[in-house]
Protein backbone atom coordinates (compact mmCIF):
# COMPACT_ATOMS: atom_id res chain seq x y z
CA UNK A 1 0.00 0.00 0.00
CA UNK A 2 1.42 3.38 -0.94
CA UNK A 3 1.86 6.02 1.64
CA UNK A 4 -0.24 8.64 -0.02
CA UNK A 5 -2.36 10.44 2.49
CA UNK A 6 -5.38 12.05 1.03
CA UNK A 7 -7.50 14.93 2.07
CA UNK A 8 -10.40 15.26 -0.26
CA UNK A 9 -12.69 18.19 0.16
CA UNK A 10 -15.06 19.26 -2.56
CA UNK A 11 -13.05 17.33 -5.07
CA UNK A 12 -9.89 19.22 -4.20
CA UNK A 13 -6.98 17.06 -3.30
CA UNK A 14 -3.93 17.94 -1.36
CA UNK A 15 -0.93 16.05 -2.58
CA UNK A 16 1.25 14.22 -0.17
CA UNK A 17 4.39 16.04 0.74
CA UNK A 18 7.10 14.67 -1.57
CA UNK A 19 9.51 17.58 -1.14
CA UNK A 20 11.95 15.39 0.72
CA UNK A 21 12.16 12.72 -1.93
CA UNK A 22 14.77 13.39 -4.63
CA UNK A 23 12.77 11.18 -6.97
CA UNK A 24 9.19 10.07 -6.65
CA UNK A 25 7.06 8.26 -9.24
CA UNK A 26 3.32 7.99 -8.93
CA UNK A 27 1.25 5.69 -11.11
CA UNK A 28 3.82 5.66 -13.90
CA UNK A 29 2.87 3.44 -16.82
CA UNK A 30 5.06 3.13 -19.91
CA UNK A 31 4.19 1.14 -22.99
CA UNK A 32 6.16 0.12 -26.05
CA UNK A 33 3.64 -0.96 -28.63
CA UNK A 34 0.61 -2.76 -27.40
CA UNK A 35 1.14 -3.49 -23.76
CA UNK A 36 2.54 -1.73 -20.74
CA UNK A 37 6.15 -2.65 -19.92
CA UNK A 38 5.90 -0.71 -16.68
CA UNK A 39 2.48 -0.59 -15.08
CA UNK A 40 1.28 1.91 -12.51
CA UNK A 41 4.51 2.10 -10.57
CA UNK A 42 4.91 4.14 -7.41
CA UNK A 43 8.45 4.68 -6.21
CA UNK A 44 9.79 6.95 -3.49
CA UNK A 45 13.54 7.36 -3.28
CA UNK A 46 14.95 8.60 0.02
CA UNK A 47 17.68 11.19 0.36
CA UNK A 48 21.15 9.98 1.21
CA UNK A 49 20.52 6.35 0.37
CA UNK A 50 21.69 3.88 -2.24
CA UNK A 51 18.83 2.07 -3.91
CA UNK A 52 19.10 -0.93 -6.21
CA UNK A 53 16.38 -1.41 -8.80
CA UNK A 54 16.18 -5.14 -9.31
CA UNK A 55 14.01 -7.48 -11.29
CA UNK A 56 14.26 -10.10 -14.03
CA UNK A 57 15.28 -9.36 -17.62
CA UNK A 58 12.67 -7.35 -19.48
CA UNK A 59 10.98 -6.35 -16.23
CA UNK A 60 11.17 -2.66 -17.13
CA UNK A 61 14.10 -1.59 -14.94
CA UNK A 62 15.85 0.59 -17.50
CA UNK A 63 12.54 1.83 -18.82
CA UNK A 64 11.61 2.97 -15.34
CA UNK A 65 14.86 4.92 -15.08
CA UNK A 66 14.32 6.48 -18.49
CA UNK A 67 10.78 7.45 -17.56
CA UNK A 68 12.11 9.01 -14.36
CA UNK A 69 14.47 11.14 -16.46
CA UNK A 70 11.87 12.05 -19.07
CA UNK A 71 13.81 10.18 -21.75
CA UNK A 72 10.73 8.10 -22.51
CA UNK A 73 7.29 9.60 -22.15
CA UNK A 74 4.98 7.72 -19.80
CA UNK A 75 1.46 6.84 -20.87
CA UNK A 76 0.19 7.82 -17.44
CA UNK A 77 1.53 8.97 -14.11
CA UNK A 78 3.88 11.66 -12.91
CA UNK A 79 7.44 12.11 -11.79
CA UNK A 80 8.57 14.62 -9.21
CA UNK A 81 12.08 15.49 -8.11
CA UNK A 82 12.29 17.14 -4.70
CA UNK A 83 8.57 17.72 -5.01
CA UNK A 84 8.92 19.72 -8.22
CA UNK A 85 8.78 18.96 -11.89
CA UNK A 86 11.82 17.37 -13.49
CA UNK A 87 12.69 20.24 -15.80
CA UNK A 88 13.29 22.65 -12.96
CA UNK A 89 15.72 20.27 -11.28
CA UNK A 90 17.75 18.77 -14.07
CA UNK A 91 21.00 20.37 -12.97
CA UNK A 92 20.75 18.38 -9.74
CA UNK A 93 20.51 15.03 -11.51
CA UNK A 94 23.30 13.01 -13.10
CA UNK A 95 22.62 10.06 -15.38
CA UNK A 96 24.92 7.21 -16.34
CA UNK A 97 23.39 5.41 -19.36
CA UNK A 98 23.97 1.78 -20.20
CA UNK A 99 27.43 1.45 -21.61
CA UNK A 100 26.10 -0.46 -24.60
CA UNK A 101 23.75 2.36 -25.56
CA UNK A 102 26.38 4.47 -27.31
CA UNK A 103 28.86 4.18 -30.15
CA UNK A 104 32.31 3.89 -28.55
CA UNK A 105 33.94 4.38 -31.93
CA UNK A 106 33.00 8.06 -31.73
CA UNK A 107 36.07 10.22 -32.40
CA UNK A 108 36.60 11.72 -28.97
CA UNK A 109 38.92 11.53 -25.99
CA UNK A 110 38.29 10.54 -22.39
CA UNK A 111 38.88 14.14 -21.30
CA UNK A 112 36.18 15.41 -23.68
CA UNK A 113 33.62 12.93 -22.45
CA UNK A 114 34.09 14.03 -18.85
CA UNK A 115 33.94 17.65 -19.99
CA UNK A 116 30.45 16.92 -21.29
CA UNK A 117 29.43 16.64 -17.64
CA UNK A 118 30.16 20.37 -17.37
CA UNK A 119 27.77 21.28 -20.18
CA UNK A 120 25.31 22.98 -17.85
CA UNK A 121 28.06 25.21 -16.58
CA UNK A 122 29.72 25.87 -19.92
CA UNK A 123 26.61 26.41 -22.01
CA UNK A 124 26.99 27.06 -25.71
CA UNK A 125 30.03 29.28 -25.88
CA UNK A 126 31.54 29.95 -22.46
CA UNK A 127 35.26 29.39 -22.55
CA UNK A 128 36.82 26.32 -21.02
CA UNK A 129 39.17 27.59 -18.30
CA UNK A 130 41.85 26.05 -16.19
CA UNK A 131 39.40 25.34 -13.40
CA UNK A 132 37.28 23.26 -15.77
CA UNK A 133 40.28 21.23 -16.83
CA UNK A 134 41.19 20.79 -13.18
CA UNK A 135 37.67 19.63 -12.41
CA UNK A 136 37.84 17.05 -15.20
CA UNK A 137 41.15 15.68 -13.94
CA UNK A 138 39.84 15.61 -10.40
CA UNK A 139 36.84 13.51 -11.45
CA UNK A 140 39.06 11.19 -13.49
CA UNK A 141 41.39 10.77 -10.54
CA UNK A 142 38.45 9.90 -8.33
CA UNK A 143 37.64 6.91 -10.52
CA UNK A 144 41.32 6.04 -11.06
CA UNK A 145 41.42 7.05 -14.74
CA UNK A 146 43.73 10.07 -14.54
CA UNK A 147 46.34 8.39 -16.73
CA UNK A 148 43.88 7.81 -19.56
CA UNK A 149 42.74 11.40 -20.11
CA UNK A 150 43.98 11.58 -23.69
CA UNK A 151 42.97 8.13 -24.84
CA UNK A 152 40.39 7.64 -27.53
CA UNK A 153 37.37 6.17 -25.80
CA UNK A 154 37.19 3.19 -28.15
CA UNK A 155 40.57 1.99 -26.89
CA UNK A 156 39.32 1.53 -23.32
CA UNK A 157 38.19 -1.73 -21.76
CA UNK A 158 34.57 -2.09 -20.71
CA UNK A 159 35.41 -1.34 -17.11
CA UNK A 160 37.41 1.74 -18.05
CA UNK A 161 34.57 3.02 -20.20
CA UNK A 162 32.20 2.64 -17.30
CA UNK A 163 34.57 4.58 -15.04
CA UNK A 164 34.72 7.40 -17.57
CA UNK A 165 30.94 7.52 -17.59
CA UNK A 166 30.97 7.72 -13.80
CA UNK A 167 33.57 10.51 -13.92
CA UNK A 168 31.30 12.44 -16.27
CA UNK A 169 28.46 12.04 -13.78
CA UNK A 170 30.74 13.24 -10.97
CA UNK A 171 31.58 16.34 -12.99
CA UNK A 172 27.91 17.21 -12.96
CA UNK A 173 28.12 17.69 -9.17
CA UNK A 174 24.57 16.47 -8.84
CA UNK A 175 22.54 15.54 -5.78
CA UNK A 176 20.89 12.52 -7.38
CA UNK A 177 22.77 9.90 -9.41
CA UNK A 178 20.88 7.52 -11.64
CA UNK A 179 22.91 4.65 -13.08
CA UNK A 180 21.73 2.07 -15.59
CA UNK A 181 23.51 -1.24 -14.96
CA UNK A 182 26.84 0.27 -13.93
CA UNK A 183 28.35 -3.15 -13.28
CA UNK A 184 27.36 -4.85 -16.52
CA UNK A 185 30.42 -6.34 -18.21
CA UNK A 186 33.03 -4.69 -16.01
CA UNK A 187 36.01 -6.28 -14.24
CA UNK A 188 36.10 -6.86 -10.49
CA UNK A 189 38.53 -4.00 -9.84
CA UNK A 190 36.24 -1.55 -11.63
CA UNK A 191 33.23 -2.85 -9.78
CA UNK A 192 35.00 -2.24 -6.47
CA UNK A 193 36.16 1.22 -7.56
CA UNK A 194 32.69 2.23 -8.70
CA UNK A 195 30.97 1.04 -5.57
CA UNK A 196 33.55 2.85 -3.43
CA UNK A 197 32.84 6.12 -5.25
CA UNK A 198 29.09 5.60 -4.98
CA UNK A 199 29.35 4.95 -1.26
CA UNK A 200 31.41 8.13 -0.88
CA UNK A 201 28.65 10.03 -2.63
CA UNK A 202 26.07 8.50 -0.33
CA UNK A 203 28.15 9.44 2.69
CA UNK A 204 28.29 13.01 1.40
CA UNK A 205 24.50 13.00 1.60
CA UNK A 206 23.86 12.43 -2.13
CA UNK A 207 21.33 9.95 -3.39
CA UNK A 208 22.21 7.02 -5.64
CA UNK A 209 19.84 4.83 -7.64
CA UNK A 210 21.20 2.01 -9.79
CA UNK A 211 19.64 -0.65 -11.97
CA UNK A 212 21.32 -3.78 -10.69
CA UNK A 213 21.52 -7.36 -11.87
CA UNK A 214 23.58 -9.33 -9.42
CA UNK A 215 21.43 -10.33 -6.47
CA UNK A 216 24.42 -11.74 -4.58
CA UNK A 217 25.92 -8.26 -4.07
CA UNK A 218 22.76 -6.34 -3.22
CA UNK A 219 23.24 -6.62 0.53
CA UNK A 220 26.87 -5.51 0.37
CA UNK A 221 26.34 -2.59 -1.97
CA UNK A 222 22.96 -1.06 -1.27
CA UNK A 223 20.81 0.25 1.58
CA UNK A 224 17.50 -0.03 -0.14
CA UNK A 225 15.93 -2.08 -2.91
CA UNK A 226 13.13 -1.47 -5.36
CA UNK A 227 11.75 -4.69 -6.84
CA UNK A 228 10.05 -4.52 -10.20
CA UNK A 229 8.53 -6.93 -12.63
CA UNK A 230 6.41 -4.70 -14.78
CA UNK A 231 4.73 -3.73 -11.49
CA UNK A 232 6.25 -2.55 -8.28
CA UNK A 233 6.91 -5.77 -6.38
CA UNK A 234 8.37 -4.23 -3.25
CA UNK A 235 10.34 -1.32 -1.91
CA UNK A 236 12.21 -0.65 1.29
CA UNK A 237 15.40 -1.18 3.19
CA UNK A 238 17.43 -4.22 2.22
CA UNK A 239 16.54 -5.83 5.53
CA UNK A 240 12.79 -5.36 5.07
CA UNK A 241 12.20 -5.67 1.36
CA UNK A 242 14.97 -7.95 0.07
CA UNK A 243 13.26 -11.09 1.32
CA UNK A 244 12.83 -14.54 -0.10
CA UNK A 245 9.14 -13.98 -0.40
CA UNK A 246 9.53 -10.75 -2.34
CA UNK A 247 12.18 -12.20 -4.64
CA UNK A 248 10.05 -15.23 -5.21
CA UNK A 249 7.17 -13.04 -6.26
CA UNK A 250 9.37 -10.82 -8.42
CA UNK A 251 11.29 -13.49 -10.26
CA UNK A 252 8.56 -16.11 -10.15
CA UNK A 253 8.61 -19.85 -9.65
CA UNK A 254 11.72 -21.94 -9.76
CA UNK A 255 13.90 -19.17 -11.11
CA UNK A 256 13.20 -17.30 -7.92
CA UNK A 257 14.15 -20.30 -5.82
CA UNK A 258 17.55 -20.56 -7.43
CA UNK A 259 18.25 -16.93 -6.79
CA UNK A 260 17.12 -17.14 -3.22
CA UNK A 261 19.32 -20.14 -2.58
CA UNK A 262 22.28 -18.11 -3.75
CA UNK A 263 21.53 -15.03 -1.75
CA UNK A 264 20.72 -17.11 1.31
Amino acid sequence: MTAIELAAENGQTIAENLDNSPLALRGVTVSYGNEPVVFSVDMTIQTGTMTAIIGPNGAGKSTLLKAALGIVKPLAGRVTTWGKSLDAQRQRIAYVPQRASIDWDFPTQVRDVVMMGLFRELGLLRRVRAKHHDKVMECLTRVGMQDFADRQIGQLSGGQQQRVFLARALAQEADLYLLDEPFAGVDAATEAAIIAVLKELRDEGKTVVAVHHDLSTVEDYFDRVFLINRRRMGEGSVADAFTQDALHATYGGRLGDGLIARTG
Partner: protein
Protein backbone atom coordinates in the same frame (compact mmCIF):
# COMPACT_ATOMS: atom_id res chain seq x y z
CA UNK B 1 47.25 32.18 -69.03
CA UNK B 2 46.54 34.68 -66.22
CA UNK B 3 43.47 36.11 -67.86
CA UNK B 4 42.08 32.78 -68.92
CA UNK B 5 42.61 31.23 -65.55
CA UNK B 6 41.10 34.09 -63.57
CA UNK B 7 38.11 34.49 -65.85
CA UNK B 8 37.33 30.90 -66.75
CA UNK B 9 38.79 28.57 -64.12
CA UNK B 10 39.12 30.46 -60.88
CA UNK B 11 35.43 31.22 -60.25
CA UNK B 12 34.17 27.66 -60.86
CA UNK B 13 37.03 26.30 -58.81
CA UNK B 14 36.25 28.56 -55.88
CA UNK B 15 32.54 27.84 -56.17
CA UNK B 16 33.30 24.13 -56.22
CA UNK B 17 35.44 24.49 -53.10
CA UNK B 18 32.80 26.46 -51.24
CA UNK B 19 30.11 23.95 -52.19
CA UNK B 20 32.29 21.02 -51.23
CA UNK B 21 33.07 22.49 -47.82
CA UNK B 22 29.48 23.52 -47.14
CA UNK B 23 28.39 19.92 -47.74
CA UNK B 24 31.29 18.22 -46.00
CA UNK B 25 30.79 20.14 -42.76
CA UNK B 26 27.32 18.81 -41.89
CA UNK B 27 28.38 15.55 -43.54
CA UNK B 28 30.63 14.88 -40.55
CA UNK B 29 27.65 14.80 -38.23
CA UNK B 30 25.55 12.77 -40.65
CA UNK B 31 28.37 10.22 -40.79
CA UNK B 32 28.61 9.90 -37.01
CA UNK B 33 24.84 9.76 -36.66
CA UNK B 34 24.62 6.91 -39.18
CA UNK B 35 22.59 9.18 -41.43
CA UNK B 36 24.98 9.53 -44.35
CA UNK B 37 22.33 8.53 -46.82
CA UNK B 38 20.07 11.39 -45.80
CA UNK B 39 22.34 13.46 -48.01
CA UNK B 40 21.60 11.10 -50.88
CA UNK B 41 17.87 11.40 -50.23
CA UNK B 42 17.95 15.20 -49.99
CA UNK B 43 19.85 15.63 -53.21
CA UNK B 44 17.39 13.42 -55.09
CA UNK B 45 14.35 15.38 -53.95
CA UNK B 46 15.83 18.66 -55.10
CA UNK B 47 14.53 17.83 -58.59
CA UNK B 48 10.79 17.73 -57.72
CA UNK B 49 11.33 20.88 -55.68
CA UNK B 50 12.67 22.90 -58.55
CA UNK B 51 10.11 21.51 -60.98
CA UNK B 52 7.26 22.51 -58.69
CA UNK B 53 8.80 25.95 -58.23
CA UNK B 54 9.07 26.27 -62.00
CA UNK B 55 5.46 25.19 -62.52
CA UNK B 56 4.29 27.79 -60.01
CA UNK B 57 6.38 30.72 -61.19
CA UNK B 58 6.66 29.74 -64.83
CA UNK B 59 10.24 30.90 -65.02
CA UNK B 60 13.71 29.74 -64.17
CA UNK B 61 14.64 32.14 -61.44
CA UNK B 62 17.04 31.30 -58.70
CA UNK B 63 15.23 32.31 -55.56
CA UNK B 64 11.90 30.50 -56.08
CA UNK B 65 13.78 27.43 -57.24
CA UNK B 66 15.85 27.42 -54.10
CA UNK B 67 12.73 27.77 -52.01
CA UNK B 68 11.19 24.91 -53.96
CA UNK B 69 14.23 22.73 -53.36
CA UNK B 70 14.38 23.61 -49.69
CA UNK B 71 10.66 22.92 -49.35
CA UNK B 72 11.04 19.55 -51.03
CA UNK B 73 13.97 18.66 -48.79
CA UNK B 74 11.92 19.53 -45.74
CA UNK B 75 8.93 17.54 -46.98
CA UNK B 76 11.21 14.57 -47.61
CA UNK B 77 12.78 14.75 -44.16
CA UNK B 78 9.42 15.01 -42.44
CA UNK B 79 8.00 12.15 -44.52
CA UNK B 80 10.99 9.92 -43.76
CA UNK B 81 10.69 10.66 -40.05
CA UNK B 82 6.93 10.06 -40.11
CA UNK B 83 7.22 6.76 -41.97
CA UNK B 84 10.05 5.64 -39.72
CA UNK B 85 8.21 6.43 -36.51
CA UNK B 86 4.58 5.84 -37.35
CA UNK B 87 5.11 2.84 -39.61
CA UNK B 88 8.08 1.45 -37.64
CA UNK B 89 10.03 1.11 -40.87
CA UNK B 90 13.82 1.00 -40.59
CA UNK B 91 15.43 4.33 -41.51
CA UNK B 92 17.21 3.14 -44.67
CA UNK B 93 14.06 1.71 -46.18
CA UNK B 94 12.01 4.76 -45.18
CA UNK B 95 14.53 6.93 -47.00
CA UNK B 96 14.44 4.66 -50.03
CA UNK B 97 10.67 4.86 -50.27
CA UNK B 98 10.49 8.63 -49.94
CA UNK B 99 13.29 9.84 -52.15
CA UNK B 100 12.57 7.50 -55.05
CA UNK B 101 8.87 8.33 -55.01
CA UNK B 102 9.52 12.06 -54.87
CA UNK B 103 12.14 11.78 -57.59
CA UNK B 104 9.68 9.86 -59.76
CA UNK B 105 7.07 12.54 -59.17
CA UNK B 106 9.62 15.16 -60.20
CA UNK B 107 10.47 13.37 -63.43
CA UNK B 108 6.80 12.90 -64.24
CA UNK B 109 6.00 16.57 -63.61
CA UNK B 110 8.94 17.56 -65.75
CA UNK B 111 7.73 15.39 -68.65
CA UNK B 112 4.19 16.64 -68.29
CA UNK B 113 5.06 20.32 -68.24
CA UNK B 114 6.25 22.34 -71.17
CA UNK B 115 9.87 23.04 -70.41
CA UNK B 116 11.06 22.95 -73.98
CA UNK B 117 11.90 26.62 -73.99
CA UNK B 118 13.93 26.62 -70.82
CA UNK B 119 17.04 24.93 -69.59
CA UNK B 120 15.55 22.63 -67.00
CA UNK B 121 16.26 18.98 -67.16
CA UNK B 122 17.30 16.05 -65.10
CA UNK B 123 20.85 16.12 -66.32
CA UNK B 124 21.21 19.71 -65.18
CA UNK B 125 20.03 18.82 -61.70
CA UNK B 126 22.48 15.94 -61.61
CA UNK B 127 25.60 17.49 -63.10
CA UNK B 128 25.07 21.17 -62.45
CA UNK B 129 26.86 23.58 -64.72
CA UNK B 130 30.03 24.37 -62.90
CA UNK B 131 31.99 24.98 -66.09
CA UNK B 132 29.72 27.79 -67.22
CA UNK B 133 30.14 29.88 -64.08
CA UNK B 134 32.68 32.20 -65.62
CA UNK B 135 33.73 35.73 -64.72
CA UNK B 136 33.26 37.87 -67.80
CA UNK B 137 34.48 41.08 -66.19
CA UNK B 138 37.87 39.69 -65.32
CA UNK B 139 40.90 40.92 -67.21
CA UNK B 140 43.55 39.17 -65.14
CA UNK B 141 44.74 38.73 -61.59
CA UNK B 142 44.37 42.48 -61.04
CA UNK B 143 40.59 42.09 -61.27
CA UNK B 144 40.66 40.46 -57.86
CA UNK B 145 41.17 43.89 -56.32
CA UNK B 146 38.97 45.80 -58.74
CA UNK B 147 35.56 46.46 -57.13
CA UNK B 148 33.69 46.91 -60.38
CA UNK B 149 35.06 43.71 -61.80
CA UNK B 150 34.37 41.86 -58.56
CA UNK B 151 30.72 42.90 -58.79
CA UNK B 152 30.55 40.90 -61.99
CA UNK B 153 31.49 37.62 -60.33
CA UNK B 154 28.92 34.86 -60.83
CA UNK B 155 26.18 35.22 -58.21
CA UNK B 156 26.57 31.53 -57.39
CA UNK B 157 29.88 32.38 -55.77
CA UNK B 158 28.30 34.73 -53.27
CA UNK B 159 25.37 32.40 -52.68
CA UNK B 160 27.64 29.47 -51.99
CA UNK B 161 29.89 31.55 -49.78
CA UNK B 162 26.88 32.72 -47.82
CA UNK B 163 25.63 29.15 -47.40
CA UNK B 164 29.04 28.04 -46.14
CA UNK B 165 29.08 30.96 -43.74
CA UNK B 166 25.69 30.03 -42.30
CA UNK B 167 26.51 26.34 -42.01
CA UNK B 168 29.85 27.19 -40.40
CA UNK B 169 28.31 29.68 -37.97
CA UNK B 170 25.59 27.25 -36.92
CA UNK B 171 28.14 24.49 -36.35
CA UNK B 172 30.32 26.82 -34.29
CA UNK B 173 27.42 28.17 -32.23
CA UNK B 174 25.86 24.80 -31.43
CA UNK B 175 29.09 22.85 -31.33
CA UNK B 176 28.70 21.53 -27.79
CA UNK B 177 25.10 20.32 -27.97
CA UNK B 178 25.77 18.92 -31.45
CA UNK B 179 28.72 16.89 -30.29
CA UNK B 180 27.05 15.84 -27.06
CA UNK B 181 23.81 14.66 -28.58
CA UNK B 182 25.57 12.93 -31.46
CA UNK B 183 27.78 11.04 -29.02
CA UNK B 184 25.27 10.14 -26.32
CA UNK B 185 21.66 10.96 -27.02
CA UNK B 186 20.33 9.48 -23.78
CA UNK B 187 22.69 11.60 -21.70
CA UNK B 188 21.85 14.67 -23.76
CA UNK B 189 18.18 14.14 -23.05
CA UNK B 190 18.84 13.69 -19.36
CA UNK B 191 20.39 17.18 -19.46
CA UNK B 192 17.17 18.45 -21.00
CA UNK B 193 18.65 19.11 -24.45
CA UNK B 194 16.06 19.05 -27.26
CA UNK B 195 17.63 16.10 -29.06
CA UNK B 196 14.87 15.71 -31.64
CA UNK B 197 15.24 19.36 -32.58
CA UNK B 198 19.03 19.04 -32.77
CA UNK B 199 18.70 16.01 -34.99
CA UNK B 200 16.30 17.88 -37.26
CA UNK B 201 18.69 20.84 -37.19
CA UNK B 202 21.53 18.73 -38.56
CA UNK B 203 19.37 17.57 -41.43
CA UNK B 204 18.12 21.08 -42.15
CA UNK B 205 21.71 22.30 -42.20
CA UNK B 206 22.55 19.55 -44.69
CA UNK B 207 19.52 20.49 -46.77
CA UNK B 208 20.59 24.11 -46.78
CA UNK B 209 24.02 23.19 -48.09
CA UNK B 210 22.54 20.81 -50.66
CA UNK B 211 20.03 23.33 -51.96
CA UNK B 212 22.57 26.10 -52.26
CA UNK B 213 24.96 23.76 -54.04
CA UNK B 214 22.78 21.82 -56.45
CA UNK B 215 22.17 24.72 -58.82
CA UNK B 216 25.84 25.51 -59.22
CA UNK B 217 27.43 22.11 -59.01
CA UNK B 218 24.66 19.49 -59.28
CA UNK B 219 23.52 16.67 -57.06
CA UNK B 220 26.46 14.35 -57.65
CA UNK B 221 28.96 16.60 -55.93
CA UNK B 222 26.49 17.17 -53.13
CA UNK B 223 26.11 13.46 -52.34
CA UNK B 224 29.79 12.75 -52.73
CA UNK B 225 30.84 15.68 -50.53
CA UNK B 226 28.38 14.76 -47.79
CA UNK B 227 30.02 11.39 -47.49
CA UNK B 228 33.51 10.98 -48.94
CA UNK B 229 35.52 13.78 -47.26
CA UNK B 230 34.07 13.13 -43.78
CA UNK B 231 34.52 9.37 -44.21
CA UNK B 232 38.14 9.78 -45.29
CA UNK B 233 38.69 12.28 -42.47
CA UNK B 234 37.30 9.85 -39.90
CA UNK B 235 40.09 7.46 -40.87
CA UNK B 236 42.76 10.12 -40.29
CA UNK B 237 42.07 10.93 -36.64
CA UNK B 238 40.24 10.07 -33.45
CA UNK B 239 39.38 13.66 -32.60
CA UNK B 240 36.18 15.19 -33.88
CA UNK B 241 37.73 18.66 -34.21
CA UNK B 242 40.61 17.28 -36.27
CA UNK B 243 38.23 15.14 -38.31
CA UNK B 244 36.29 18.22 -39.33
CA UNK B 245 39.47 20.03 -40.32
CA UNK B 246 40.56 17.07 -42.46
CA UNK B 247 37.15 16.81 -44.08
CA UNK B 248 37.34 20.45 -45.15
CA UNK B 249 40.84 19.93 -46.54
CA UNK B 250 39.71 16.84 -48.46
CA UNK B 251 36.66 18.69 -49.75
CA UNK B 252 38.84 21.52 -51.09
CA UNK B 253 41.35 19.11 -52.55
CA UNK B 254 38.58 17.17 -54.34
CA UNK B 255 37.15 20.36 -55.80
CA UNK B 256 40.46 21.77 -57.01
CA UNK B 257 41.94 18.54 -58.34
CA UNK B 258 38.62 17.41 -59.78
CA UNK B 259 38.19 20.65 -61.63
CA UNK B 260 41.73 20.61 -62.95
CA UNK B 261 41.51 16.98 -64.07
CA UNK B 262 38.19 17.60 -65.79
CA UNK B 263 39.35 20.72 -67.57
CA UNK B 264 42.95 19.86 -68.43
CA UNK B 265 43.14 16.08 -67.97
CA UNK B 266 41.75 15.21 -71.40
CA UNK B 267 44.20 17.69 -72.98
CA UNK B 268 47.08 15.92 -71.30
CA UNK B 269 46.07 12.63 -72.86
CA UNK B 270 45.54 14.27 -76.19
CA UNK B 271 41.77 14.54 -76.27
CA UNK B 272 40.20 17.80 -77.25
CA UNK B 273 37.17 18.37 -75.04
CA UNK B 274 36.84 18.48 -71.29
CA UNK B 275 34.73 16.11 -69.22
CA UNK B 276 32.14 16.73 -66.51
CA UNK B 277 33.78 18.65 -63.66
CA UNK B 278 31.07 17.59 -61.21
CA UNK B 279 31.62 13.93 -62.00
CA UNK B 280 35.38 14.34 -61.80
CA UNK B 281 35.21 16.07 -58.41
CA UNK B 282 33.13 13.16 -57.08
CA UNK B 283 35.62 10.74 -58.59
CA UNK B 284 38.58 12.49 -56.94
CA UNK B 285 36.83 12.45 -53.58
CA UNK B 286 36.41 8.71 -54.05
CA UNK B 287 40.12 8.34 -54.82
CA UNK B 288 40.97 10.27 -51.65
CA UNK B 289 38.69 7.98 -49.65
CA UNK B 290 40.33 4.95 -51.25
CA UNK B 291 43.78 6.20 -50.26
CA UNK B 292 42.55 6.90 -46.73
CA UNK B 293 41.01 3.43 -46.49
CA UNK B 294 44.32 1.91 -47.55
CA UNK B 295 46.83 4.02 -45.64
CA UNK B 296 45.23 6.38 -43.11
CA UNK B 297 46.53 6.02 -39.55
CA UNK B 298 43.17 5.35 -37.89
CA UNK B 299 41.48 3.28 -40.58
CA UNK B 300 40.84 0.33 -38.27
CA UNK B 301 38.54 0.49 -35.29
Amino acid sequence: MGYEFVALSLPPMVIGMLAAMACALPGNFLLLRRQSLIGDAISHVVLPGIVVAFLITGAITTLPMMFGAAGAALVAVVLIEAIRRLGKVEPGAAMGVVFTAMFAAGVLLLEQSDTSGVHLDVEHALYGNLESLIWLDAVGWSSLVDPTALAGLPPELFRMGFALLIVGALTWLFWRPLKLSTFDEGFARSLGLPTTLISLGVVVMAALAAVAAFDAVGSIIVIAMFICPPAAARLMTNRLETQIAWSLIFACASAILGYIFAGYGPLWIGASASVSAAGMIATVSGLILTLAALFAPHRHA
